[in-house]
Symmetry: C2
Subunit: 130 residues, 2 copies
């Protein structure tokens, strides 16, 4: 029984609460994990099957691959199609929602790619003046 993660309405903490649970945070909490973005990227070219995704990502465990795909399916980013064959085959594919996400995702990816160098330099500079 996978009880879905509750919405963080619990402990207020030492700063006075301010905004209601916002959509941004809700979305980011889901696709902000270690693998979601990578998987959506991998699925961008087209439908792929389980192990194919595993190979492409490289260092993801089967467990996390499975979990993350399920999350993405639940949230409506991808579809999961099972082919009742002898060695089972399952294919994943972006939904319209998933496709529509490619825009902002690409913006992010491109920015990261373009600015990675600057960031690394900043880190090194920071370390330098310890």
């Amino acid at each position: 029984m996978t009880d879905l993660p509750k919405q963080r309405v619990d402990t207020p903490t030492n700063f006075p609460p301010f905004e209601q649970p916002c959509p941004i945070r809700d979305v980011l909490d889901r696709i902000g994990d270690q693998w979601s973005l990578l998987l959506l990227e991998s699925l961008a070219p087209g439908r792929k099957r389980f192990s194919e995704l595993g190979r492409e990502i490289g260092d993801i465990s089967k467990q996390m691959l499975s979990r993350t795909l399920k999350q993405l399916e639940q949230d409506g980013f991808i579809t999961r199609t099972v082919y009742p064959e002898v060695p089972p085959r399952v294919e994943y594919e972006l939904t319209d929602l998933g496709q529509s996400f490619r825009g902002p995702m690409q913006a992010l990816v491109q920015w990261a790619d373009a600015n990675h160098r600057v960031i690394v330099e900043a880190r090194n500079r920071y370390r330098g003046l310890d």
Copy 2:
């Protein structure tokens, strides 16, 4: 002594490794945490001080506020200015790098805002067919 997080080159796992440590992942690992994006958003309008940010975010602990700001500073997203006054005042402000990040960030935020409803519906639909 805050030893910086190492680069995940350790255990290969059960899938054969595939890509070298990529910039995307490196960047996302940093701004993909629970608070970075929120803070960058908060700082978008202009420079703000520590407690001001804390109040705006609402449910962030002082500790995480401090840590996250330091991370963002290290990576060159923001600057930290200390005013040697009686009650100390510290202000944070986006750097050029931080500013340049607003583009992709806004894309993401707007998408999240626009599609949150659809996602929530997808989740509920999924729960329905248990």
